[in-house]
Symmetry: C2
Subunit: 287 residues, 2 copies
Amino acid sequence: MELWVTEMQTPALGITCKVRRTLVEEQTDYQHMAIVETEQFGRMLLLDGMVQTTEVDEFVYHEMIVHVALNTHPNPKRVAVIGGGDGGTIREVLKHPGVEKAVLMEIDRRVVEASREFLPSISGALDDPRVEIRIGDGFGHIRSAENEYDVVLIDSTEPVGAGGAATGLFSPEFYASVGRALKADGIMVAQTESPFLNQELIRRTQAGIRATFPITRLYLASIPTYPSGLWSFTLGSKVYDPLAVDPANIRQLPTRYYTPHVHHAAFQLPRFVEELVQSAAAVGGAV
Amino acid sequence: MELWVTEMQTPALGITCKVRRTLVEEQTDYQHMAIVETEQFGRMLLLDGMVQTTEVDEFVYHEMIVHVALNTHPNPKRVAVIGGGDGGTIREVLKHPGVEKAVLMEIDRRVVEASREFLPSISGALDDPRVEIRIGDGFGHIRSAENEYDVVLIDSTEPVGAGGAATGLFSPEFYASVGRALKADGIMVAQTESPFLNQELIRRTQAGIRATFPITRLYLASIPTYPSGLWSFTLGSKVYDPLAVDPANIRQLPTRYYTPHVHHAAFQLPRFVEELVQSAAAVGGAV
């Protein structure tokens, strides 16, 4: 018997991977969760049928959601990660020696537990003494924080699907709360889906983040198991501009995707993405 | 009934697209050819079951195989395209007003005919008076040319599959022939597959191109329907360095992906790709 796992990335597009075995599959309080061992990408975490991370290509997403902001901020000490229960984002945050505290706010305890058991190369850093894990609603946690973090990373699931746990994490109200949770020179980054397939979401989040953050910039990375293979992140900053960072001053870090030059190249957008961002700016300006 | 077309990108990885109808499907003298109308990507050309181009994302590949070289060469007049029977590469070449002659060398007459009939937005420029279409073996044509072209673009199928028509187009002998077909300041570009999935091929073509061209550089673009979504091109140049081009001097062209800044950003490689290229350099040096 051959087993294949297929994610319908859109109603008319799917990715299918050969599966050696299923390590865990269950309905949690929030979503359907599975970890399978694929031939192509190693172990793969799926939530509500959507690929979240794989052992083979997770490094791209996790390095790129973290290092751009943490190398733009001159001295990040307190970092919050919203979502990201697999621990990969935390692992990259802790590569920065100045970080004193990394708070993980994950709604689904089972994602953390299963990642600890079956994805050790991704979740390993969760045991670091600098890490605090808060299981619960990230929006609520952030709303109660004020002037507390240097960097907030929004490592959420997609704002869709049956669970829809992450929908609130893409709203202007949420970005305003993140703004208050950040210190006066704080930076946020959110994963904002594919510029080929999710243009409306990118337009909306651009406008929402821009309403709170004077410096709002989209950047890109290539992630094979994510729809279209091209993924966007949106950085919102109160003071520091990621484009003003001198590559020569960027910390040397053990990475496989991010480099000081990739830091800058990721902001050089294909023309259709540039135009997408500009159209969002116009909408944002009218708010 | 629902129809889906699935490309097995590797033995353990597939992409599947919902199909409205099949426009053409036949066995040509060289390969299995199909054009189907997909919901996600518009019309799609498949050769031996592998996606070659789609109406929705073809602009990335065709712009990026052409404009980097044609904007690096200060005055490209004669351009050869090997493969590329769909006409998309020729269309982009002709956007450069200085081009006097664009020669298409395609082995399979049926690809040109079917593209003319069913992919007019891609093939339309084939009727331009500057275009000469030579049906036949591209390697043979190139071998008989000497000091003739400013730019040669190798827009081939993958060097695999039952047909394997393109295998020779990835050999060091072929790149040496391209070197002779080019003028003393000529430039070539070859599509060289995915850095996530085809590392051995990239290592081999790097070494092969480097043996003939003193300036050999890999660059990347994001193509949703190609395996992993991240695609590499390798540029070989006798004199001009693509990195030395001043963005301010790059011709303004009607493009949707390529920009003067993308020109440079495409060469800023993720660390694992940088290391892949460096390992190839070491091999090449030992030849």
